[in-house]
């Protein structure tokens, strides 16, 4: 017994070092497994509160740009509305049956209070949380395109797994054909993402628009992502397809949260097929 106490006394500094390093390593390992609620993140009230304060000041300087973005989106939506009205005029016998009406997606606004884009695994923090009806695995978009998927929520804040994260995988497709692939990021340039798993018979050209595929139960179909910058076709398959993102991920502030109201229904149905 005395030997043990002597040993601990002699090596207490080293033991403390080992204990602290193990603690840090456990946190790292926890962090690597997605889906698990992690302990160290910026969605808690202290860090979220600090980011909120900082953002309240810096947001003032981006007012002009935000206004411009909003008016651009307004124009786009007005054009859509105009198209729709014209359609109604053309086939004037359209019957709107409210019993068949259903809402699939629900949008809410939030504000980014912390943004990373220089690291390899980037996260954003937004100023809405569980109290505002957010939950993990909801999509985050803005007027120009997709931004990421919610990872963790606390009562007032949420962290978002950015597009610019090597763990991010989002279903996308070509706008002019229905061939789909997966959007990933290689961790190098924050303006450029990559698409993998595009089938070899798909025709890809430089400048093709990429939109979300709507197979993922997170994002609605048809949200713009970016355009094809360049690609390499070797050994009868697409090796690399680089995508220039529409969003400048270094300058985003107002975002919208997409909630798929039919998500559970879709997932349980798909699960049933798998289990059979």
């Amino acid at each position: 017994m005395r030997q043990i106490i002597y040993f601990i006394k002699k090596f207490r500094y080293f033991l403390l070092f080992i204990v602290l390093e193990t603690l840090a390593f456990i946190v790292i390992v926890h962090d690597y497994s997605f889906q698990q609620s992690k302990f160290v993140n910026s969605a808690n009230s202290i860090t979220g509160g600090v980011y909120n304060k900082v953002n309240a000041i810096s947001a003032f300087f981006y007012l002009k740009k935000d206004n411009q973005l909003l008016s651009e989106e307004n124009v786009r939506l007005k054009n859509l509305l105009e198209e729709k009205e014209n359609k109604f005029v053309l086939d004037s016998f359209t019957v709107i049956d409210s019993s068949q009406y259903f809402q699939k997606y629900n949008y809410s606004v939030a504000k980014i209070i912390n943004n990373n884009f220089t690291k390899r695994n980037n996260f954003l923090t937004i100023n809405k949380g569980a109290r505002h009806g957010l939950a993990p695995d909801l999509g985050v978009i803005n007027s120009k395109g997709i931004i990421g998927v919610i990872k963790n929520v606390s009562s007032n804040y949420a962290t978002v797994l950015s597009l610019l994260n090597t763990n991010s995988k989002i279903n996308v497709r070509l706008k002019n054909s229905n061939h789909f692939g997966t959007l990933v990021w290689d961790g190098k340039d924050y303006n450029i993402s990559q698409i993998i798993d595009i089938p070899r018979q798909a025709l890809v050209k430089e400048g093709d628009t990429i939109i979300t595929g709507g197979k993922s139960a997170i994002f609605p179909e048809g949200i713009s992502v970016g355009v094809v910058k360049d690609f390499k076709y070797e050994h009868n398959k697409y090796q690399i397809i680089n995508i220039l993102l529409f969003n400048d991920m270094s300058a985003i502030s107002e975002v919208q949260i997409v909630k798929n109201l039919h998500k559970d229904e879709q997932i349980t149905l798909e699960q049933r097929v798998v289990n059979e």
Partner: protein, 135 residues
């Protein structure tokens, strides 16, 4: 990642356990804000533990007068050497844990070197400009 200047500037004392715990807390609070798991906590605890052996190696001494010691007393190239070794170790750990694959080894090295240059520059400037000279 200039926050590691804490490790350079914390006075060298006999009671090193407190320093180790404080370094760990600093690292974990950086992690809280940057969503990086425990990567920074791991790295800063590591360099905090190996600070004294490295300092001894840089000074080529086996014993040190703890009460009298001050980083400013060293010559410029010794300070730079001391800072550089700790910074490069720290950044290498951070980037290798962040990438976590051998395939990205080249990326880890380039990132470590480039980030280290700026960290060393800024922390050296900070130390020379903002610490008191006691003579």
């Amino acid at each position: 990642m200039v926050y590691i200047a804490w490790v350079f500037l914390y006075p060298v004392k006999k009671t090193r356990s407190l320093f180790l715990v404080l370094s760990f807390l600093l690292g974990i609070s950086i992690d809280f804000f940057s969503d990086s798991g425990g990567v920074n906590a791991f790295a800063i605890t590591f360099i905090a533990y190996f600070r004294l052996p490295i300092l001894m190696a840089v000074l080529r001494k086996s014993d040190l007068d703890y009460t009298q010691f001050n980083l400013k007393m060293l010559s410029v190239n010794r300070i730079v050497l001391f800072i550089s070794i700790l910074t490069i170790i720290h950044h290498f750990i951070v980037f290798s844990l962040e990438y976590f694959s051998f395939r990205e080894f080249l990326n880890i090295i380039t990132n470590t070197v480039l980030t280290s240059i700026f960290t060393i520059l800024i922390s050296f400037l900070g130390i020379t400009l903002f610490t008191k000279k006691n003579r």
